[in-house]
Amino acid sequence: MVSSSLFGTALAVARKDLRVEWRTKTAFISSLVFAVLVLAVLYFARDKTSVGDYDLAPGALWVTFTFAGMLGLNRAFLLERENHALDGLRLTPISPTALFLGKIAGNLVFLGVVELVSLPLFILFYDVPIWRQLPTLMAVVALATIGYVAVGTLLSAMVVRTRFSEVMLPVLLLPFLVPPIVSAVQLTWRILALRPLSEMTGWLSLLAAFDIIFFTLSLLLFEAILVE
C-alpha cells in the first residue's frame, strides 16, 4: 500500500513535469537543437586526415549528451521555483523520496527522448553503421544516463536556490560526470570497434556501481535539501 502510493505520487510528479514540458517545449527543442549543433560542430573540429570518424565518434556522442542533458536538468527545478510551486508541493503530504523519484523519472524521460532522437543522427553524421550493435549501445546510454540524472537532479535542486544557478550546475556537476562519461566513452569505443563483451565488463561494472551508489546516495541526501 505504502509503496504503491509512493510510486503513484512519483508518477504524478513526473507526468506533471512532462506535461508542462510538452506544453512549452522550450527546453526540449533547445536541448535537441543544441545536441545536433554539437554533433555537427565537433565533426569539423579536427583534422580529417589524421582523426577518423571512428576515433572521434565516441567522445563527440558523450560530449553532446552531457551538455544537452545539462539544459534539461536546469529546467526541472526552475519549474518548481516559478510561482514557488515547490512550496505548494511541500504543503502536501508528499514524501521527499516520492518527489525525488518523480523528478528523476521526468528527467530520465526528457533526456532519454533527446538521446533517442540524436542517436540516429549521430550514426548518420559520423557514418558509423552500427545498427546491429544499437541495442548494446542503447543499454550503455541508459546506464550512463541513470547515474547522470540521479546526481544531476540532486545538484540542480540545490543550485536553483542560489544566484547564478545556470552557471553553477555545470561547475558542480561535471566532476561527478567523470566516471560515468569516461566509462561510457570507453564502452562506446569498444562497441563501435566490435570488441567482444569480455573487454567491456570492467567499465560496465564501474558504470553499474556508480549508478547504484549515487542513486542511493542522492535519494538519501535529497531530504536534507528540501527541508528549510
Partner: protein, 217 residues
Amino acid sequence: MGIALVGLAGIYVRALMFTPIERTQGPAQKIFYVHAPVAWAALLAFSVCGLLSLLYLVMRDRKFDLMAAASAEVGTALAVVMLTTGPLWGKPIWGTWWTWDARLTSTLFTFLLFVGYLVLRNALTDFEMRARFSAVLGVMALVLVPFIHVTVYWFRTLHPDPVVLKPDAPSLPSVMLVTLLSSFAVCTVLYIGLVMQRYALAVLQDVREEEAAGGIS
C-alpha cells in the same frame, strides 16, 4: 601552528642542504620533499571535509560545518601547491609540464570539485542552508573521489610506483626517507594548524555576526 612553520623551515634546510642529490633525477628530485607531503595533506584535508560534512548531516551542529569549510579551504590551498610543484618536477623528469597521468588527473578533478564546493558556499547567504547544501556536496564528493581515481587509473598511469609503503623494504636510501617522512609529518601538522586557525577565525566571525544581529528578545 608555530611548530609547523619552524618544522617547515627545518625540512627545507634538511632537504636542500643535508639530503644527497638523487642519482638519476638530479636536484629536481628535491621538489618531491614538498610535493608528496603536500599532496598527502591535501587529500587528508578533502577526506576530513567529507567526513565532517557527514557528521554535520547527522548531528546538525554548526561546528562541523565551519570545520569542514576550513578543511576544504586549506585543502584547496595545499592542492594549488601540489599542482604547481608537480609540473615543476615533471618538466625535467618526464620532459613535460603536464601529462594525463592517473594521479595527476584525479587530483586535478578533486581540486576542481572542492573549488566547486567553495563556490557553492559563496553563493548561499543563509548559513543554515549553506551548511546543509555544502554538507550534501561534501558527502557526495567523498564518495566520488575513489570513483574518479579508479576511472582515470584505468587509463595507463605514468606515476612513480609507491616508494615508501611497499610491502618489502622501502626503496629510498634512509637519509632521503627520513627527510621525506619528516616532511610528511610537518605537512600534516601544518594542515592541522591552518585548519585550527581558520576555524577559530570562523567562530570569531560567527560570534560577531551573532552579536550584531541581536538575540531573540
